[in-house]
Structures are given as structure tokens and as C-alpha cells.
């Protein structure tokens, strides 16, 4: 499940790998998210990077879930 790259386009930044506190500030501002106190930004950034790392790890596994039909977890 690796992203395909089109010839001639700039290579996309690794998914969230290099996300910074400035990136989070910009997203909060542009998307109108709940403001993050400056003192908290490093911890928030840690969580965000961990989440992106998890998503990268899943993508790297090659498991394809696009066709999976979901249901309540207890149903077959």
C-alpha cells in the first residue's frame, strides 16, 4: 500500500515523519481546531508523530483494507 508517485511531481513529504510544532499551529489556525497551549505542544507533537508512525507501519505492511466491509465488532 505504498503511495504511487507521478513523474514530474514533487516527492511528497514522508507521511507525518517531519511534522513540526509550526505545522500543528498552522493546522489549528486554518482548520479552526481547538487551540493548543504552547507549553503542551511538545507532548501533542509526540502523540501526533506516534500516530503517523503507526499509520506508516500499517501502510508498509501492505495489508489492503479498501474492500473490507465493516460491521459491529461482535458480529460475524
Amino acid at each position: 500500500m505504498t503511495a504511487k508517485q507521478t513523474s514530474g511531481e514533487a516527492a511528497p513529504a514522508p507521511d507525518g515523519e517531519a511534522i513540526t510544532a509550526d505545522d500543528l499551529r498552522r493546522l489549528v489556525s486554518v482548520l479552526g481546531l481547538i487551540a493548543i497551549p504552547e507549553a503542551l505542544l511538545p507532548r501533542v507533537l509526540e502523540h501526533v508523530r506516534a500516530h503517523r508512525a503507526a499509520m506508516r507501519a500499517f501502510a508498509a505492511s501492505g495489508i489492503e483494507v479498501g474492500d473490507v466491509v465493516t460491521a459491529q465488532p461482535f458480529r460475524a
Binding site: L24, L27, V28, L33, I34, I36, P37, L40, R43, V44, L45, E46, H47, V48, A50, H51, A54, M55, A57, F58, A60, S61, I63, V65, G66, V68, V69, T70, A71, Q72, P73, F74, A76
Partner: protein, 465 residues
């Protein structure tokens, strides 16, 4: 019988002595209130103790009901009519629900008396029970250590004889982790078996469950049998396809003291990784004991487990939706770790969440495949013994305590933790996991194990005056 002796009895023993008139409901309630008065300064298990109301209810206890006159503690994120329910938070410090959560209401109607509301990790969002608003609950086996969480107050209270049984909630292991760390029994039911309506901070309605914490498998079975069943106002509840007689299953396992014909799978992936050597030894000895009772034990494969667990990361978005109403205006009422976790979930993409829902289905299929070959999975509930509070406060050095418990929440499967030994002088839990709605199988096996071992009878030294 002394008060201290009353505080070590199981629900079943208490019910029998009450029915024979050997003790009265006020005797039983007073004994536990005395134990709370003695140990609460050291263990901090309760956010609210309902002393006067509990004694009044005991004096008024009528005839009948499986739990008539028996005090039960309830985690403080379960709504209790007329008694504040804080969720372990400052946000809801003064919240007094008008009605009982159905799970607790069913126990109350069976005669249970609310002894108090137990301490928990803030909004249930953590596995240590370090609570900045109400102080940490402490492990009765070593008060310098965490009791586990988030239902730490419930498990510590039961282990210390401050309550004969308690309710906990479990979104990632919050019943089973503290049960393992405190040396008691904790059961997470199949998602949909017990109503979750009236659960506070249940930001993850697809994984949260309310479950019993008790000193015996039979007691857990009794509480489950009373709580299970459809709630027309709770869309998560479903009719169990094979409703079990949980009490009878536990009794049968205990009486037979064998598990002939049962197939137990031991996962080759994930569950034993980086396990504390004494934890692993205790759990493998327990599995060998079950084999000695007649089970066939085989290895099972759970392909792609680590990748699938990683793919569930987007589930964190569910909690944000619950808390968003307060985060903008009352952010300072959350602890910094809770603030950071919730605010970070703003950056989970919708596609990550949609992916997580699909990944969960695949993970469930993997477990279905494993459980088509065996009846139960066996593993350590937590791969390490209870950490010191100081280590837990440092966070960075803390291992992932919910690593082994969270798959059952993600897949909806039932799982139970039973005491199976000690590591570094601290209790170890054996976790058994079954197919959905096969709690009876879990309870039968757990009861047979319990009947042929003595771990569940061990009590922390401070529990006895």
C-alpha cells in the same frame, strides 16, 4: 464471625450467611466500612464513600434478591442515581446523575447496596490510575506501586477486602489490568452483552464495556448473570446468540476441577514478547496446569498482528468527539496528559479512522480463524508486574500495559483475568479469551483452574488487621 473475616468472604458465602441469618446486612456493610476507614488513607481507593446511605439501605434490606444486603463498590465513571459520578475528572466533579446506569441498576434491584464510588484514571484514559484530581489509588500488595487502571480503585478495594466485589469498565483492559496487578478476578464481557449506557467518558462506544471485579470466578459469574441482557435504550446491546448460564458454568468448572475436551491456543505472536521472565514463567505454568486438567494446548498463529494493531491507531478519534464539548472552554480542568492526548487526536485524519474500522474487521477475522481451531486463547494479562508509582509518573519508562488486553476490546471478544502466581512478589494474571458470547466457556475453564490452585486465596498483608 469478626468483621475482618467478613471482609474476606466471597459474594456467594456472604449471600449464604445472610440467608441463614448468621449475619445481618448492617453487619456486612459496617465491616466493610470499617475496613475502608482503616485502609483508605493508605490506598485511596474511593472518590466517594456512601457510608450513611449504605447503612440505611442495609437496615432497610428486604427479603429476596441474589445480592440482598451485599455491598458493592462501583467505579466512578458509572452513573449512580443521587450519588455523584466524577469520571475521575475535575470536569464532572459535581455531577450527580438522576438515574442508575442499567448495569448497576440491575445489581441494585438484585439487592446490592452501593458502598462507594471508586477511584480511576481520569476519564478512564490510562492504565495506571495516577489521578491528579483525586490522587493515585495504590496497590494493596505494595502501596508504592500502581494498582493498574483505569479501574484501579475497584480492583484494589476488592483485593484489600474493602468491598466484596466491584464494577469496573474496560475500553483497553481497564478491568483486567488492575485485576491482574491486584490479584483478583476481572471479566470483560463480549461487546453488546452488558449495557454501557450511563458510562461516563465512554468516548469509545465501540470498545467500552462494564465488567465485574471479584475475588472468585463464581462471583464474577454471578455479577455478569445479573448485568447481562438487552437494554432497549442502549443500541450497543444485542441478544446473545447463545446466552449462557454463567453461574452454572462456573459451578460446573469448579465442581469438575477438570477441562477435558477443551482446546487452548497459545499465541506465538505478540502476547509473550518482552515479557518479564517471572510473569512468563507463571503464565506458562498456569497453561501447563490447564493441560494437566485435561485441556489440549496448541500454538496458534495470529498473522500480521503488530501491523493490524498499528492500523487501529485512528480509533483515538472517537474520544475527541465525546470530550470536544468541554475542551474549548475548560481545557485547564483536564490534566496535561489528557489534554495532550485529546488535542492530538484532532490531527487524526478521517481516512485513518475509516481505515481503523476496516482494520478492526480484519483483526477480528484473524482471531476468528485462531478460535476456529481452539476454544480459548491463553496469555499473560499484562507482560510485567505492577510498576512503581514513581516510574509510572515518569511515563517515558512505562511499558505498554494494555498491549495484551486491548485486542479483545478491538475485536469485541470476552476475556477474563485470573490470579496465577507472583512475579517479584506481585500478583500475575492469566488471561483467557473466548469467542464472542462464549463467556460460559471462559468461566468454566477459569473456575476449574481456580478450584485446583490457591492463588486466588492469597491476600495482601495489609488486608488483615
Amino acid at each position: 464471625m469478626s468483621g475482618a473475616e467478613l471482609c474476606r468472604l466471597s459474594l456467594a458465602d456472604l449471600a449464604e450467611r445472610l440467608s441463614r441469618g448468621e449475619v445481618s446486612p448492617p453487619d456486612v456493610v459496617q465491616a466493610h466500612l470499617d475496613q475502608i476507614a482503616r485502609l483508605e488513607p493508605r490506598l485511596n481507593c474511593f472518590i466517594t464513600v456512601c457510608a450513611e446511605a449504605a447503612l440505611a439501605a442495609a437496615r432497610a434490606a428486604g427479603a429476596g434478591g441474589a445480592l440482598r444486603g451485599i455491598p458493592v463498590a462501583v467505579k466512578d465513571n458509572v452513573e449512580t442515581a443521587g450519588v455523584r459520578a466524577t469520571g475521575g475528572s475535575r470536569v464532572l466533579a459535581d455531577y450527580v446523575p438522576a438515574a442508575d446506569a442499567p448495569a448497576w441498576g440491575r445489581l441494585r434491584r438484585a439487592g446490592a447496596i452501593l458502598l462507594g464510588k471508586t477511584n480511576l484514571h481520569e476519564f478512564g484514559m490510562g492504565a495506571t490510575n495516577l489521578n491528579p484530581h483525586y490522587g493515585p489509588a495504590r496497590n494493596p500488595w505494595d502501596p508504592q506501586r500502581v494498582p493498574g487502571g483505569s479501574s484501579g480503585g475497584s480492583a484494589a478495594a476488592v483485593a484489600a477486602g474493602m468491598a466484596p466485589a466491584a464494577l469496573g469498565t474496560d475500553a483497553g483492559g481497564s478491568v483486567r489490568i488492575p485485576a491482574a496487578f491486584c490479584g483478583v478476578v476481572g471479566l470483560k464481557p463480549t461487546h453488546g452483552l452488558v449495557p454501557v449506557r450511563g458510562g461516563i467518558g465512554f468516548g469509545n462506544p465501540t470498545v467500552d464495556q462494564i465488567g465485574p471485579i471479584a475475588r472468585t470466578v463464581g462471583d464474577a459469574a454471578l455479577l455478569l448473570s445479573l448485568m447481562a441482557g438487552i437494554d432497549p435504550d442502549d443500541p450497543t446491546t444485542v441478544a446473545a446468540p447463545a446466552p449462557g448460564d454463567y453461574v452454572r458454568a462456573a459451578q460446573a468448572g469448579s465442581a469438575a476441577a477438570e477441562v477435558r475436551g477443551l482446546r487452548i491456543g497459545v499465541p506465538g505472536e505478540h502476547y509473550f514478547d518482552d515479557c518479564h521472565p517471572e510473569v512468563e514463567a507463571a503464565v506458562r505454568t498456569a497453561i501447563a496446569h490447564l493441560e494437566g486438567l485435561g485441556a489440549s494446548v496448541v500454538p496458534v498463529a495470529l498473522p500480521d498482528h503488530a501491523a493490524l494493531m498499528a492500523g487501529l491507531s485512528g480509533m483515538g478519534a472517537e474520544a475527541l468527539v465525546y470530550h470536544r464539548r468541554w475542551l474549548r472552554e475548560r481545557l485547564e480542568d483536564y490534566s496535561p496528559p489528557a489534554q495532550a492526548r485529546l488535542l492530538a487526536s484532532q490531527f487524526i485524519l478521517a481516512a485513518d479512522y475509516a481505515t481503523a474500522l476496516r482494520v478492526r474487521r480484519v483483526l477480528r477475522q484473524r482471531y476468528d480463524a485462531a478460535l476456529s481451531e481452539v476454544d480459548l486463547l491463553a496469555a499473560p494479562t499484562v507482560p510485567v508486574p505492577a510498576p512503581e508509582i514513581a516510574v509510572a509518573e515518569a511515563e517515558a519508562d512505562l511499558p505498554n500495559l494494555s498491549r495484551n488486553t486491548s485486542p479483545a476490546n478491538r475485536t469485541g471478544m470476552p476475556a477474563i483475568s485470573v490470579p496465577c502466581g507472583f512475579a517479584a512478589g506481585l500478583p500475575v494474571g492469566l488471561m483467557l479469551t473466548a469467542r464472542p458470547f462464549e463467556e460460559a466457556t471462559l468461566l468454566r475453564a477459569a473456575a476449574a483452574y481456580e478450584a485446583t490452585t490457591a492463588w486466588h486465596r492469597a491476600a495482601p498483608a495489609l488486608a488483615t488487621p
